[in-house]
Symmetry: C2
Subunit: 343 residues, 2 copies
């Protein structure tokens, strides 16, 4: 495309051979004289020849590019996943095209269109908060287009998903709070339509139930946006009255937990003496805040790696769809720090 870029044709012309000869020489096909090979390669080198990946894509119906659709890059979790994706993709000669939806359904749909138009070989998806219809993904699946969902997975048949055990992670976190002697544990939950939110809520509920603690409905508050500000407002509301004040928080993720901690401090409540706090995701900052935040760590990098490995396998069709594990569930790890440990 760049004016200066040499093509196979240029080499062929200059050497008075055919393009097929050049093509073959460059890839060491049998049946090309060493002499020719040498000349071709030398000239290619000199002209700084670089195969045109676009022409190859067209010819081979394969672009060596995978797409990633995620809500937002700036979320630590997602950027960690991308790192894992990039790593595996790069190691296998694949490029990564990135589309962030900013949690918008419309952007997600157009991202899917773009990706299909661009003949990408497969796609990794974690869908937006707004997404409730999955027709756009269904379409891809029906076309047998390689697609792997991670973190946020859809309610569809025959999808391949990579997640962490959100239920167990939440269960362990809440169990830990109970073990520490906390009894009135509220849950700042995530958007209701996401499976991860449901799973974490279930884990929370079951942990309380298993310990014989009756859950009050007002203990579960949805934080749909998951921002610090939202969390501060909600937490302040929950804790401002002395009577019946809860004594612990299990937050849907660390930003929400951090917001809650700020609100608690503003109310002059001590963490963990008055209120224990556990978050989810182990964001970069979680070990640095005061007190350090206990949290459920998700292996983001590993999620990215795993999802990409599976996707690349699907692409190269080493195996058929049926042989793929439908759901890969990775383990979380409860990191106990000061915010939840009674002294």
């Amino acid at each position: 495309m760049k004016l200066g870029q040499a093509t196979i044709k240029d080499i062929a012309r200059e050497l008075n051979v055919s393009t097929s000869t050049v093509s073959r020489a460059l890839k060491d096909y049998p049946g090309i004289s060493d002499e020719t090979k040498r000349k071709v390669k030398e000239l290619a080198d000199k002209l700084n020849y670089r195969p045109n990946a676009v022409a190859l894509s067209l010819r081979k119906s394969k672009s060596f590019t995978i797409g990633v659709i995620i809500p937002e890059v700036v979320h630590f979790f997602f950027s960690t996943v991308i790192s894992g994706v990039e790593e595996v993709a790069f190691a296998n000669g694949y490029n990564v095209i990135l589309c962030q939806t900013n949690e918008k359904f419309s952007r997600e749909k157009s991202s899917v269109e773009t990706m299909l138009s661009n003949q990408i070989d497969g796609v990794l998806v974690s869908f937006s908060r707004e997404t409730t219809s999955f027709d756009h993904f269904k379409k891809m699946i029906d076309l047998e287009f390689p697609i792997v969902f991670f973190d946020r997975i859809p309610d569809l048949e025959n999808t391949i998903n990579v997640t962490v055990n959100d239920y167990q992670g939440a269960y362990n976190a809440v169990k830990h709070l109970i073990d520490q002697g906390f009894k009135k544990i509220v849950h700042l939950s995530g958007p209701d339509n996401l499976t991860i939110s449901k799973q974490r809520k279930e884990g929370y509920l079951d942990a309380l139930r298993d310990s014989g603690i009756k859950v009050k409905p007002e203990w579960i508050v949805e934080c749909p946006y998951g921002t610090e500000k939202e969390s501060i407002l909600i937490t302040t509301e929950l804790f401002k009255n002395k009577e019946n004040r809860p004594d612990a928080i299990f937050a849907h993720h660390d930003i929400v937990a951090a917001g809650a901690m700020m609100a608690l401090k503003a109310l002059n409540l001590k963490i963990p003496e008055d209120v224990g706090v556990v978050g989810f995701s182990n964001w970069q900052f979680s070990s640095m805040i005061d007190p350090p935040l206990s949290t459920v760590a998700q292996p983001g990098f590993q999620i990215g790696e795993t999802a990409t490995k599976i996707l690349l396998e699907m692409i190269s069709k080493k195996t058929n769809m049926e042989s793929f594990p439908q759901n890969i569930v990775l383990d979380t790890e409860l990191l106990i720090r000061k915010s939840s440990v009674k002294v």
Copy 2:
């Protein structure tokens, strides 16, 4: 590429017209009967026709794709920049291909090759910590390949760069520490080969000089990796002895500052009473740590937006190279929080 994907040929065959007619009808070219247009569009719709972007790329020598080469996605600053890039690219119908170098020179070189092979229309670059030779970029520039550097800019002629005023940001930060009464201010600096590191160091030096403070050589310590751990080690070393102990830290970025704060706390030094701390970049966590960290905020999103806008202009050659501003320098903002304010 997907077996199921309809092409212009399919439509042509089914409708008994030529492919050119279909092509023209689809894009409302003049000189096509309304009747034909209608039929073509209807069928296209029914077959779920989607133009093959790869074929278009090849034909037009234009891929509507830009590349981004950065050290690491997981850095809050870079992911913020990507957000800005994505936003502008998307709004203009461009895709974003992402390559992270993991701060490796070799990866950077191969990324450049990949991008060139893939006929991307332009590239945004913030190079790796290891990079000291710029031949690979020089090659692109000589080919008049559209390229915009941001944040980390090379020592090359005729490049277009988007940065923040690191010098001024650092100067303001250190001036602020001096105004607060701190006198023995150390600088935990960045990798020496990066312009940003040099600029920040200069700002630091000039601020001290302008206030008549003599800088001791041992006050400047390089933190090449910029990790929390590295910073903890270095800070502990710097502050463990009572005599001649410094009384403030200006860190090259917030992670380093956060590490320093952890080290100070471990030494039982109070922030900001005993030691004032200012960071750089306003990472997400900076307002949440204890005490909240004063820092120099960089407009990451805006850097991404600006760089991408310029790149797209270069691509569409609305203007010629000479008319481009060589250096866009955006302003930083000093965010004063508790970590640097003497009570």
